[in-house]
């Protein structure tokens, strides 16, 4: 166990170093115009990050999603969650992406234009198809400027069976991206409040600012714990319930954290030149992807309603 954790820390440390070197504002700006970060992808491959979670590397779901959380912290402009999950479901296959099947197409596919393989998930049936050498029907982007494309499903698309709920695993990717991203937003808030001087002193000395950041810190702590809880449940029969609780909770944190930290940054944080929006816009986008708060709340709530009022405590308490 501790050896596993040590390995994970090594992976995360090196990922952190690489991403802090590469994922600067310039790269994020370029990526948001649709320019694929070739060099970064090269480095990711050289370090084997694209193989995380595979049996051969001796890493597990915990390592995979901890890495995804690190990607969130740096707003890494690559479809890393998608590539890692596609590898789990369809075997190693280079840069991949995932989208939802709607009206016979795969929609909202991150970097669909740049990947060699796309997996489509049908939300109601959880049916999964794999499309090699995907054809882009439409190029678009989410509110964070992340390329989000529509992919055609050819007749020869391969249907596959996957062991865990693919929709929930995709949501778990967003949960961890958000959790990582929110840490960065808090860090930026603390940094700005400490450096910015008004009325002759650092604004971090004002109680209103301190309380705002305390609220943000509590939300980030809750988001991190909720994300971990969902990862811990990947192989259990309560996976869907835990993802539901987690995506709902982390999504709620996004709204609070982004609002407060933008307020602290004043007009500077509203400029394109400042880096804050790269993180807040992503968090806002991710909370709506793979089921927003309402979707997951209602799902969890329906399960609880069916258990009945006198069993809700047991449901909560036996999920330590």
């Amino acid at each position: 166990m501790s050896e596993q954790v040590d390995t994970r820390q090594l992976i995360l440390d090196s990922a952190q170093k690489i991403f802090s070197d590469h994922c600067d504002k310039k790269l994020l700006d370029q990526a948001e115009t649709g320019q694929f970060p070739d060099t970064l992808w090269q480095v990711v491959r050289e370090n084997g990050f694209d193989q995380l979670g595979s049996y051969a590397t001796g890493t597990d779901w915990n390592d995979l999603f901890a890495f995804v959380q690190t990607c969130g912290r740096f707003a890494v402009p690559l479809p890393m969650t998608e590539t890692l999950l596609a590898n789990q479901w369809a075997g190693a296959g280079g840069l991949s992406s995932i989208g939802e099947i709607i009206d016979g197409q795969i929609v909202s596919v991150p970097w669909g234009r740049s990947v060699s393989r796309v997996v489509g998930i049908e939300a109601d049936t959880r049916e999964v198809v794999v499309v090699e050498s995907p054809q882009v029907v439409h190029q678009g982007s989410n509110m964070a400027g992340e390329p989000n494309d529509i992919i055609a499903i050819p007749d020869n698309a391969q249907k596959i069976e996957v062991p865990q709920d693919p929709y929930a695993l995709s949501a778990l990717g967003r949960i961890n991206l958000m959790a990582g991203c929110l840490q960065t937003v808090l860090d930026l808030g603390i940094q700005f409040a400490t450096e910015r001087t008004q009325f002759g002193r650092s604004i971090s000395k004002f109680q209103a600012i301190q309380h705002s950041l305390a609220v943000v810190a509590a939300e980030v702590a809750a988001a991190l714990r909720a994300a971990d809880a969902a990862v811990d449940a990947v192989s259990s029969d309560r996976f869907l319930d835990e993802v539901a609780a987690s995506k709902a909770r982390v999504g709620e944190a996004v709204g609070v954290v982004a609002e407060q930290v933008h307020q602290i940054h004043g007009a500077m944080g509203f400029t394109h030149e400042h880096q804050l929006h790269h993180y807040t816009r992503r968090a806002w986008a991710w909370r709506d992807e793979w089921g927003n708060e309402f979707y997951w709340q209602a799902r969890l709530g329906m399960a609880l309603a069916q258990l009945g009022a006198d069993n809700v405590w047991d449901f909560i308490a036996t999920r330590g």
């Binding site: 811990d232 969890l300 329906m302 609880l304």
Partner: protein
């Protein structure tokens, strides 16, 4: 600091959970109201039954009547009795706060005198911190205890002291030396016997129709000098460490839990989407806070300082237990089988202003967190 450990309860604690549930089933007659607020049900007989199970002071050493059990086991007992809405107020402060304070700072004689009584559910304690002119600014207390021979003469007024009219003892924060430039110096904690030492206790009605808190007036009240807890003058350090004990437990997010249960009941097994979402939203918050609270139990088990983590749990928990009735109110059906829901909801809503006041106001806790973030 923000990364709470992934701690899970063990099968050992789950066996205990079942024992507690069986016990609660057997003591159902003690639950007059469906309310999970830890302040509102004072039932000495229930507390004695709990004590007989070894579930008061359960982490304390056996030599003082404790059961030497883990903080996780205490956590499980606590959350089960709260979620069921059992009346816990009588022993609550003694178990959570006064006992641990005495265990850590008290003299050997104090430990032998008070702790075994507490664990049997026979000695109930109140907290004497606030005064008419002292709220969040605790160091400004003006109640004095002046040494005269082998006694202390106490003068002053404590206020908002929960259950002082029902409990046996109060531990007061008092000035034993005149105020100086160092406002944290010269403070001490002293035990007063509420039934025999001559303090005057006057209940104060609260807005929810209850009489739980009090004004306690000391006019030349004399107590033996050996009632000082720990060293005279060490009161500030003791009181701040005591406050950390009271901030991370499940009582910080379960005060409104019965409203949630009645909401689920009122919505039935086929709720409308907005009702299901309200139920799921509440559950998601409670599940997360519960895990954070268990993480803190793990830190207590390892004797770690939990000051900031406990403040984070309380900040999240208290805010949410105030939002919970609001979410439930708008989601509950307007008619039908809603009597139980309305009763629990109305009672809890009227109690809810106290949630973010007791145990350190929201404003004080945010200051503690801000200090942890390096902003102060």
């Amino acid at each position: 600091m923000l990364q709470f450990d992934r701690v899970s309860l063990t099968s050992q604690t789950e066996a205990l959970r079942q024992e507690v549930r069986d016990f609660l089933q057997d003591t159902k007659t003690h639950f007059p109201r469906p309310n999970s607020d830890f302040v509102t049900g004072h039932d000495p007989e229930f507390s004695r039954k709990l004590g007989a199970q070894g579930w008061i002071g359960m982490t304390w050493p056996e030599e003082y009547g404790g059961s030497n059990r883990s903080f996780f086991e205490r956590y499980v007992v606590t959350e089960e009795i709260l979620a069921a809405g059992a009346p816990v107020s009588a022993h609550w402060i003694a178990d959570r706060q006064s006992g641990p304070l005495l265990l850590r700072f008290g003299t050997s004689e104090q430990k032998q005198t008070y702790l075994p009584q507490i664990t049997r559910g026979e000695a109930f304690f109140s907290i004497g911190m606030s005064e008419p002119d002292t709220g969040s600014d605790l160091a400004s207390v003006r109640t004095t205890a002046i040494r005269e021979g082998d006694q202390y003469r106490i003068n002053g007024t404590k206020i908002w002291t929960t259950d002082a009219h029902r409990n046996h003892f109060i531990i007061c924060l008092v000035r034993t030396e005149p105020a100086s430039d160092n406002r944290h110096a010269g403070l001490s904690q002293i035990i007063v016997d509420l039934r025999n030492d001559g303090a005057q206790v006057r209940p104060i009605a609260n807005m929810a129709g209850g009489e739980d808190f009090n004004e306690v007036v000391f006019e030349d009240v004399f107590v033996p000098a050996d009632r000082v807890v720990g060293e005279p003058g060490n009161g500030w350090e003791q009181v701040t460490s005591e406050l950390a004990y009271e901030r991370s437990g499940p009582e910080r997010f379960l005060s409104a839990f019965r409203v949630f249960v009645e909401l689920v009941r009122a919505c039935g097994d086929d709720p409308a989407p907005h009702q299901a979402a309200a139920i799921g939203r509440i559950a998601a918050h409670i599940m997360t806070m519960r895990r954070m609270s268990i993480s803190v139990a793990g830190m207590l088990e390892q004797h770690k300082d939990v000051g900031v983590e406990a403040a984070l749990v309380k900040e999240l928990g208290n805010n949410f237990e105030k939002i919970l009735p609001e979410i439930a109110r708008l989601a509950a059906p307007a008619s039908g089988q809603i009597k139980a829901f309305r009763e629990t909801f109305e009672e809890t809503l009227m109690l809810s202003p106290s949630f973010t006041l007791r145990g350190g106001t929201r404003e004080i806790l945010r200051g503690v967190i801000a200090r942890g973030l390096g902003l102060r």
